[in-house]
Amino acid sequence: MPRQALQAFTRGTVRGVKKETSDTFTLLFDLADCRSPADFMPGQFNMLYVFGVGEVPISVASFGRDSHLMHTIRSVGRVTRLLAAVTTGSSVGIRGPFGRGWPLAEAEGKQLLVIAGGLGLPPLRPVIEAAIAEPGRFDGVKVMYGARTPADLIYSYEYPRWHAAGGCDLLLTVDRGTSDWKGNVGVVTTLFPKAGIDPGRAVALICGPELMLKFSILELAKIGVPAERIFVSLERNMSCATGTCGHCQLGPLFICRDGPVFGYPRLRGFFPREGV
């Protein structure tokens, strides 16, 4: 990666804004403004900067599709609340991409389990796009995605396209259903028995809240998926993204530099563990 990409902002002009849920929205940028698709790996993140306010680490939800760079953001803090107010034509500063992404090469020819909870889906979205773009690259793709309520499911406008793509099964669940919800109710692990997981050839990529990660790992282990084929993407408050500010440290790891995607064996002993 060129040195200045780590430190300098490029100008990202907003080309579109999509409301996903009551508190979550998607910003589309012209990818050419920032980088070329070759600069990205699925699972990486950018730092988005609001002038005079600050930066937030946001995973890259899509790069290259329709020539867009896509970020899906939940409005929850000082910077993200301001990002929620940006309109088409305005611009934000972008630094990145940072971090190590999903090990897609390792999953080639194997059954791919994409397991997401809540806002854990955006960093996995490029994986789904990669699977659709190259049918047959993986031996079956199972997308298991859970949200709090049906109204909290993001990217619902994409599900028909994902479904239509050969070999990509989409299983949804919600913690609390509504009268018109016909699908599964329960945490994301309740989808596991329905997904036809083949522990002997499954590679699991997981992103979501820490509790969801913990129980997904435990459940996969119970089924017999070995730790070496379980990968998780972790979240801490990356502040510099270059391994020098210390905010994102988890035990001996910098999430920004060594992750955010980790093979589970690397985390054993200090994740998940309280107060680390």
Partner: protein, 398 residues
């Protein structure tokens, strides 16, 4: 000189030679020669930073000239206590105050860039730049090792920090070997002192009536105009004995030789809770620590022209919101924050950077308002383990 119990060497940073100076040359000169040395450094364009008495504390400050050097003063330190003591006939009579080279190489506050909004975009007005060259004068061996530790964090290949790198490249080091240990010092048990082994431009050992200069090759300009005599066997032996005395004086120790592995297992020790009951989470320990590097970037808007300074300031893992993010606060309790500070130094650092994060300078003990002693914590946690490392029980390969 010096016994290295666990070496901090291993990764080549490009600055420090990876072996000690085998061809060092030893000279002696009068005690007054250090004045000339300070002036020489100034003449060579260095900003000389050394021990200087300021508001009743020996601080590491810019020396305008030899007169600013704190000489003849001693310090008396204890857990949670720092005071000046009686006068001393020695030139280098005090040990570590609260400052270390960190404050200059990785400043507590530095402007990284200045930005303006321009046509909906952001324009860079100025980035960080410095021509300043620091000569660190009369720092102690532990602080020299601390710089080496910081090199690994701030100059990691591919992630070099531009501020640290700029200051570090211009810096030179005149180190003074310790002939007296501070009350809170424990460098001997970490192998980081009391004598410097490498990385210095000149090492001085103060003998009863002369200064012994340990000069690696090629540093003669620094000693220009100083009347040097080759050191005698007796003088070299005296220096060894004085350093050995300091080593033996040290009342504190990290009891285990290489504790990093066992520290992971000690994470559930009741010691952490016990110590955290006293901890105020004030962050003093991280501020005075010569290796603590954590920082955060803040945006400061100038109301006159609307420009924004992106300023980097020190931060502390002891502060409550240090790891706060949208997903929650994983280290909300004070125990977890204090444990992070200590675990980082003694367990995580070796895995991250191939060196311990502690050099045994004792500052965090002296400047802790309630006198928490990190050596007691580490030794206590290793002693009172609650059974092994907690793992994810259900995982067959865990």
């Amino acid at each position: 000189m010096g016994v290295t119990r666990f070496s901090t060497l291993g990764i080549e940073t490009g600055f420090f030679p990876s072996t000690r100076f085998e061809n060092a040359m030893h000279f002696t000169a009068s005690k007054g020669s250090v004045s000339r040395l300070i002036r020489n450094l100034q003449d060579l364009g260095y900003t000389v930073v050394g021990p200087s008495l300021f508001e009743g504390v020996v601080r590491l400050r810019e020396l305008r000239g030899p007169a600013d050097l704190a000489t003849g003063v001693t310090d008396v330190q204890a857990p949670g206590s720092y005071a000046l003591g009686r006068e001393s006939p020695l030139v280098f009579s005090s040990v570590n105050g609260p400052d270390s080279p960190k404050g200059y190489l990785h400043p507590a506050e530095v402007e990284l860039s200045k930005l303006v909004a321009n046509g909906g975009g952001i324009e860079l007005v100025s980035g960080f730049h410095t021509d300043r060259k620091y000569a660190f004068f009369a720092i102690r061996p532990c602080d020299l090792r601390a710089v080496e530790v910081m090199d690994r964090t701030m100059l990691a290949p591919g992630f070099e920090d531009r501020v640290y790198s700029a200051f570090r490249k211009g810096a030179i080091f005149v180190v003074v070997n310790c002939t007296r240990a501070g009350e809170n010092c424990f460098c001997a048990s970490l192998g980081t002192g009391p004598a410097a082994e490498s990385g210095y431009d000149i090492a001085i050992t103060e003998l009863p009536d002369r200064m012994l200069f340990d000069v690696p090759d090629g540093n003669t300009p620094l000693l220009q105009g100083i009347e040097l005599k080759p050191a005698t066997e007796v003088e070299l032996r005296t220096a060894e004995e004085l350093v050995q005395r300091a080593r033996e004086q040290m009342g504190r120790t990290i009891a285990e030789q290489d504790p990093s592995r066992r520290m992971y297992a000690a994470m559930d020790s009741p010691t952490w809770e016990k110590v955290a009951e006293r901890c105020l989470a004030c962050g003093n320990c991280t501020m005075v620590c010569p290796t603590c590097f954590c920082n955060t970037i803040v945006d400061r808007t100038d109301l006159r022209d609307g420009s924004v300074s992106r300023v980097r300031v020190w931060d502390s893992c002891l502060s409550k919101d240090f790891v706060y993010s949208a997903g929650g606060n994983p280290r909300l309790g004070r125990m977890s924050r204090y444990r992070q500070f200590v675990m980082h130094k003694f367990a995580y650092w070796p895995d991250e950077f191939g060196t311990y994060g502690c050099v045994g300078c004792g500052r965090c003990i002296s400047w802790c308002p309630v006198g928490i002693d990190i050596t007691e914590t580490v030794n206590g946690a290793l002693r009172d383990q609650r059974g092994g490392e907690k793992k994810m029980e259900a995982h067959p390969v865990a």
